[in-house]
């Protein structure tokens, strides 16, 4: 991820005619400024901050779609793991203050790191109760039910331990700051730069201004989100805007 938010802002601003300058030379001069300010980004329809907000909105949508997919793109965003959750514990909603988004990923024994297998709840209950220590061989089974996780994870000595999940997280406040700073690199993989710009452009319409363009980009953005949710690791290029 080497693309900066400054690059996203200028790409977005260009498509809504918000780069200051009346000549190609002026446009070029202002376009390449980093970080951009309200001096370089000015428009009768959209000021600087709404453009950055639109980028934030588009980023949220893309991150959520990735979080709900099993796409390899998950590895490109902040994939973290939860702290150990005890048997019958509630599923965590945050990791280090950031919200968990989308579906949980791989489940592992927090102590041994062994991958866990999802099994029926009744089987997990029997194994956890383990009357008279009948079962000797450790198994790492789990089941998600009603917001809780039930599991059989133990450490190598057989003492009950926690379970951990891979999860995508998103922190809006952190991202707001990153976008406002502009020189930070984008959260998502570079290959989603185009999708993110198109998504931001699709939000930038008011009254009749850029409405046709916004509609076309929105259609592209929605189809991109659908592809990602379907597990695609690659997205289509943006359409050519026609009136």
């Amino acid at each position: 991820m080497s693309t900066t938010y400054n690059s996203l802002v200028r790409n977005t601003a260009l498509r809504i005619n918000a780069i200051a300058g009346s000549t190609p030379a002026d446009l070029e001069t202002n376009y390449i400024v980093s970080p951009l300010t309200t001096t370089q980004v000015e428009s009768a329809d959209f000021s600087f901050t709404p453009i950055k907000d639109a980028i934030l909105l588009a980023e949220e949508k893309l991150v959520h779609a990735i979080g709900n997919s099993n796409s390899q793109l998950r590895n490109g965003i902040t994939l973290q793991f939860t702290s150990g959750v005890a048997n019958e514990g509630f599923l965590p909603t945050t990791i280090s203050g950031s919200q968990i988004i989308g579906v949980l990923g791989n489940a592992r024994n927090f102590s041994t790191g062994n991958p866990c297998t999802e099994k029926p709840l009744a089987l997990i209950r029997r194994r956890f109760e383990n009357p008279n220590s009948f079962y000797r061989v450790h198994v790492d089974y789990y089941n998600l039910s009603g917001g809780r996780v039930f599991h059989t994870c133990t450490d190598s000595s057989g003492v009950a331990t926690g379970i951990t999940f891979d999860a995508c997280v998103y922190n809006r406040a952190t991202q707001q700051t990153a976008i406002d700073t502009l020189t930070n690199t984008m959260l998502l993989p570079d290959v989603l730069e185009e999708a993110l710009v198109c998504g931001a452009v699709s939000y930038l319409t008011r009254d009749d201004a850029f409405s046709v363009q916004a509609r076309m980009y929105r259609e592209y953005f929605e189809s991109t989100l659908q592809m990602i949710r379907g597990g695609a690791g690659q997205v289509l290029p943006a359409p050519l805007v026609t009136t």
Partner: protein
Amino acid sequence: MSLTYQELIYRAVDQAGRGIDPNTSPLIDLGMLAENLAPHVFRVVAENAARDSSKRALLRASQTIVFTNGVGTIANNALLDYMGDAVLRDTSDFTKLYSYYPEWSDFVQGGDTRLGRFTNVGTVISVVEPIVSYSASSGITANRQFTIPTVPTIPVLQTDPVVIPEFMIDEVVAELAAQVRGEYDNRTKK
């Protein structure tokens, strides 16, 4: 070759999945079922082996029996069909000999009193010391070593070795794998 209980279960489950795509087979993760079946398989394989007199001796294992007034309890894993092969010993005096009396009446009446004697009713074992007459209230209160063909026990920990005669290991694994697959029950083969 010795193997741990965990190895035994893993080998059985892996063998159960032979010839089946592990990506689609539920057998690959049936360790709990294998553990459920293991005591049954241990007994079936041991009982089958015990029918062969050349293998039966290899199944003999010793246990300590605590006698109170001449009465003690045999562990459940002893193959009582082979009490005739059983040996009772006083570990503090190996010259002391005991003879097995299958019938209770013979045991009470006694025979050659130079020998001690023992009998059983189910898992309850009774003993009379040499040169002593039977008395229901004054038998020995002591420990004796009892050796008999035995079903191997399930280890306490998954990392403990399975104490099992060498020749039985492959049979146990194969039988357990077959039962995990639901293929057949060795108990009905003989």
